[in-house]
Point group: C2
Chain length 340, copies 2
């Protein structure tokens, strides 16, 4: 049987997790919360004391008691790493394997969560389940941007260490590890130019709003302006039929017939959807690398997935080590051009 203080503490933590009180929000005065919970002011004060000691709430004169909005990392042992990611694509599979390798070295268990569908709310649900089962060090591989990722802040407040992979976050509650997309696009454009391409075509999905793709497209547009290359962005639906893909590919091939052109795919699947064979006059380039690209004669960009996984796990360890002094950081990796 939990003591009254524990019950009040758990109830308030639950309300914070559920989003009733956001980071920085003011909490009810002790007297009011005692009425709300049918307990005494002494009980509420004790619960507040404990939550303050845990870094979940702060007492600020003259503002009263607020939910914390500075993110102290939890400093407990790294016994398990929670990894929230999709599968089974080869790139994600290799990432999972690399994180598993790091966990073995640290003698930590790897707890895997696969959101289906891969949306922010599903990721959050898995994260909450892991956190309540004691998995308090999480690596989250970003999902669709149509989700307020700041709700992950609440997990941070409740003592969860967070690293986001391949997902640029709007807040400072998680470390970021990912590809240096700007450098990647710059390297591919330079290579395309050196290969004789006169016109650059960036192909992105029309219906996949993830940060990585958005960053790559922005970098493409910026690099065009910088280098004075001719170019354009073309969008294709992820759900395009085979006939639509053929038509789209034929249009791109027509561009190559006018002048040597380069198609830069936002990732490997988009090029694989479009092309089965090399096309004369059309160089293929990809911000990604899978063995099948070689058959298309495409230039790929190999992401150092092992080093990126290590950086993510290391970031969790740093969070634990720094505790109250932790500040969110960004760690970007350069890729390596791979010729077919």
């Amino acid at each position: 049987m939990k003591s009254l203080t524990e019950q009040v503490r758990a109830a308030l933590a639950g309300e914070i997790l559920a989003g009733k009180y956001a980071p920085g929000d003011r909490l009810p005065p002790e007297r009011e919360y005692a009425e709300h919970t049918g307990t005494s002011r002494v009980t509420v004060r004790r619960a507040y004391d404990q939550l303050e000691a845990a870094g979940i709430i702060v007492r600020r004169r003259p503002h009263g008691t607020c939910v914390a909005d500075t993110f102290r990392a939890h400093t407990g042992p790294l016994e398990s790493v929670g990894l929230i990611t999709t599968l089974p694509h080869e790139f994600s599979g290799r990432f999972v394997a690399a994180v598993s390798r790091c966990c073995r070295e640290l003698d930590a268990l790897l707890v895997l969560g696969i959101p289906e569908p891969d949306t922010g709310p599903q990721q959050l649900e898995i994260a909450v389940r892991m956190a309540t089962r004691g998995v308090k060090d999480l690596i989250v591989w970003g999902a669709d941007r149509n989700f307020d990722f700041r709700v992950f802040e609440r997990l941070r407040i409740l003592g969860v260490n967070l690293v986001f992979f391949d997902q640029v976050l709007p807040g400072d509650f998680a470390d970021y590890v990912g590809l240096d997309n700007r450098a990647a696009i710059r390297a591919l454009l330079a290579k395309a130019k050196a290969d004789g391409a006169e016109r650059m075509i960036f192909v992105n999905y029309s219906d996949l709003d993830v940060d990585t793709n958005a960053e790559r497209q922005q970098a493409f547009e910026a690099c065009l302006a910088e280098t004075g290359c001719r170019g354009e962005v073309r969008l294709l639906s992820r759900g395009a039929s085979a006939a639509e893909c053929r038509l789209f590919a034929a249009e791109l091939a027509a561009a190559g017939a006018e002048a040597p052109s380069a198609v830069i795919g936002v990732n490997a699947p988009v090029l694989q959807m479009l092309f089965r064979h090399p096309v004369a006059g059309l160089g293929l380039y990809c911000v990604d690398h899978v063995p099948q690209l070689a058959e298309l004669g495409a230039v790929g960009l190999r992401q150092p997935i092992g080093a990126m996984a290590e950086a993510a796990v290391r970031a969790l360890q740093e969070q634990r080590k720094k505790g109250g002094k932790w500040r969110a950081g960004v760690r970007r990796f350069a890729g390596e051009l791979v010729e077919p």
Copy 2:
């Protein structure tokens, strides 16, 4: 501080786990074990009593005290499923995703372990680490047969529920879930015959001694005899160079030039190593299915990976439910032919 009884109990459990005493082995008499551990006979008797109550040892007159060799399943809650498997190949990735789906439905955590290299001893090491951290329901995707898998028996005795996937076991300490390889080979041979093939060539690895491959090859040889087809087994090293693969593929193509022939690949990677394009006179068939096979014009066999993952998790639940009444079972699944 642990009591003396607990210390003795833990020491003996450790010795069983380390293999000093195997299932069915006789343990030292109480007096002798007391001397060995520098404790009293009363302490050892209490430790033996507790281990007997936990089903780890049995007292048999007139044989004395032995390590258990009947496998009672542990009946605790299914809070987490440990999955020991390789990644990142697409087939294993899909299996992991399917197990993850089952875990979410049961509100269990999925703890993933990837042995590197993928050998029995590495698998066992991961299994022991999981078990000692409280993950006591394990699905193990088999590895090389050059390992005495019976050492997993000891884990069973210490209260771990086990399901082996895609790995025929020599013992009765785990449930088995996998493909019905005999039916799969029979279906592929019948299809090849119906397609007009007169000569059947089974291609296997020369240096990968896993049960699945061995079963498939045996089934091929048995089916040849049954159906009166002409045929042969050809072996290729997993580490073959591109030049060796081309030479090997040319030899197979020559067989097709003599008479319409069918090449049955033990799995998809072996065919993908050999062929990039369809070959006249040579039908390609595969005990496996990946999308890339369509480009080879190969007939694949789709394994019902979702149903197999469900069966594995369900087997763990059954073990928990049956407890002392559990008996190892075999669950084999039929595949479905997929034309290119």
